[in-house]
Amino acid sequence: MSDFVLDLSGIRKTYRGGVEALKGIDLQVPRGCVYGLLGPNGAGKSTMIKILTTLIRRTGGEGTMLGKPIGDRSVLQNIGLLPEHAQFPDYLTGRQVIEFTAGLQDVSSLECKTRTDSLLDLVQMTDDQDRKMKGYSKGMKQRIGIAQALVNDPDIVFLDEPTDGVDPAGRRDFRVLMKKLREEGRTIFINTHILSELEPIVDRVAIISHGQLLGEGVLDDLRSSKPSYQVEFEGRLAPARIQAMSEQGFTVESGLITAATSRPGDVQSVIDQLRQDGIVIVRVERHTQSLEDLFMGFFDQANPSAPPPIPGAPLQSPAIPQS
């Protein structure tokens, strides 16, 4: 069996009207990892999941999921899905929603009961399991959504924008839950445009924008691909010193000097110059890129003329409609 639960090559999707949602995506997802598909709204993330779960047909490309060709319905029995904007029947209780998915996935009655109990416990919804969905908060609905996605003990779980609309406490709980699932060795594929959700939990990420894959790899490798050293100081630098440091290739900002290098020796001259000027050094730190830095780096590379996104805001893609 392949080590990849998902092996895609050149996946394309063009909607009616000519909108190209995916422009040839290659993707390999190893077994047992938490994989993040990252991109602005309209980047093509949901389109990708819809193709994999047979909600839409691809225009081109090939691929396998769990060893079977994309579009083969038999493989759907081994996947779990929490769709974007999931609408659970509001006349069902939380428990009934999980049992409903179990029924659709042909889980036996005995297994269904055991798994439902343990999943309700996992998502901390045991006490509220018999309340109707219409009485749940968004966070509670998402917990039930995650539980139902796991009820068939899937080989791969797709979570499409799982924290969209969830409050900060709910997001924290989600991260805790994802860590638990990772510890269980499950393959989890998360679509999100909220970078901070992924950073603490993902093993690999793919960055997608305008239907194109901008970058892909192990998160730690990507983050350390452009290492730097940062020197934080107190006081004012003389203009001549700032100019000299800039000429040496350092970036000087207010109270912070950044050296784009992976070698500690290159930073020593900065320290020497600061001490020579009697400047107090507060901190010297090896800096790896945050996921946001990483994303913005790829995004800027692909869209040199695009305006920079507002720091901290969810990423928005201006050109492609929601897919």
Partner: protein, 378 residues
């Protein structure tokens, strides 16, 4: 099988969760209860479980007229108006959102991303809707069935024919509704267009039936007229009223003696009448072609008249409410023609034709809807 049953169960749960399900059921039970509240004793008829009473020799316990009245109130009033129109309308309103809901992004992600094929999901949702209607109608007819036993002292299982017939009528309309629903994903569009279809098919059915009756009446009049003319010829009577026509001497009295009420003059002259009938026939052919395509909701319900047993007679529910109740006896010469035309009109299309063509319509619609449902990108 379990995934299929899960969808089926969920469709039913969804319908059950809606207020309109309980409203429809409550109104059905109320109507059935009103029917049940009517009873007969030795002196006459009581209403509302004895709250109101009126004496009658005709409608009292044990008379055949009372059974006819009681069954006919169900077949000619309740079934014809409540079951055939209002209950079907409420059922359509209840079920209209099933398919648009299934194709919503968030819902489709739950149901259509599983191993169960889309065709099976489609079938399960359709069967679930039919189940809903069956339960509603069955509950209603069951109460009426028990009421008939209680009030008349005999079982009348023939009234259960209304269950499949109402189900058929619902299916004709619902199949069309599903096509619109899966095509547009709009609840309102699906409902409105289905009501338009229902109205059009009812209007076509109405005009087709009335035009047929009119043509038959005219032709029958001509036939009667010709027969009267033939029988009058030996007496030398000119019944055409043509200018210059003369009655032979002595024959005038003969006519008066033999035929105290001579036939009225025809309302059109013969040449214009023939042209009028030909024109009507042409229009009738066009209506008939349209009628063949559309679902025959009214005609399907009329089949019940032939199947319901009243006073031990199958087909005892034929005719209008008043004619059944009062046992109408009209003047012989008018009645012969009236009865013949009515019978011809009633038998102009067989039940097999009405149901067969309508079921064919439904099948075409369902195949079309199923194809769209299976191919739809969400």
């Amino acid at each position: 099988m379990k995934p299929y049953l899960t969808i089926l169960l969920d469709s039913f749960r969804m319908l059950k969760a809606r207020t309109i399900f309980w409203v429809t059921l409550a109104i059905s039970l109320f109507v059935a209860l009103v029917h049940l509240s009517m009873g007969f004793d030795e002196t006459g008829t009581s209403l509302f479980f004895g709250l109101s009473h009126f004496e009658s020799d005709m409608f009292r316990e044990g008379t055949s007229q009372s059974e006819t009245l009681y069954v006919s109130i169900f077949t000619k009033l309740i079934a014809e108006y409540w079951l055939s129109w209002i209950a079907v309308l409420l059922a359509l309103i209840s079920c209209v959102s099933i398919f648009p809901e299934a194709l919503k992004e968030g819902t489709a992600g739950m149901e259509l991303t599983k191993k169960l094929s889309r065709l099976k999901v489609f079938a399960a949702k359709f069967v679930g809707s039919l189940l809903f209607v069956t339960i509603q109608v069955l509950a209603f007819v069951l109460i009426v069935f028990l009421a008939l036993r209680w009030r008349l002292g005999s079982w009348n299982p023939s009234i259960f024919w209304y269950v499949p017939l109402i189900l058929l009528v619902f299916t004709y309309l619902y199949s069309f509704m599903i096509v619109i629903a899966v095509k547009t994903r709009s609840v309102m569009t699906a409902l409105v267009l289905t009501l338009v279809l229902w109205a059009i098919s009812s209007v076509i059915g109405f005009f087709e039936g009335n035009l047929y009756t009119m043509i038959q009446t005219l032709e029958m009049s001509k036939k009667f007229e010709a027969e009267a003319r033939e029988s009058a010829k030996p007496l030398g009577v000119d019944l055409e009223g043509e200018e210059g026509g003369q009655i032979e001497e002595g024959a005038e009295d003969q006519v008066k003696v033999d035929d105290p009420e001579p036939l009225e003059e025809p309302f059109v002259d013969r040449d214009n009448g023939d042209a009028g009938i030909l024109s009507m026939k042409l229009w009738y052919q066009r209506l008939l072609a349209a009628y063949a395509i559309f679902p025959k909701t009214g005609r399907t319900m009329e089949i019940a008249d032939r199947l319901i047993v009243v006073n031990g007679e199958k087909g005892g529910a034929k005719g209008s409410f008043m004619s059944i109740i009062m046992g109408f006896e009209e003047e012989e010469d008018q009645n012969d023609m009236f009865i013949e035309v009515s019978e011809k009109a009633a038998d102009r299309h067989s039940g097999t034709y009405a149901i067969g063509t309508s079921v064919l319509f439904s099948l075409v619609m369902l195949v079309w809807a199923g194809w769209i449902f299976c191919r739809k990108e969400i």
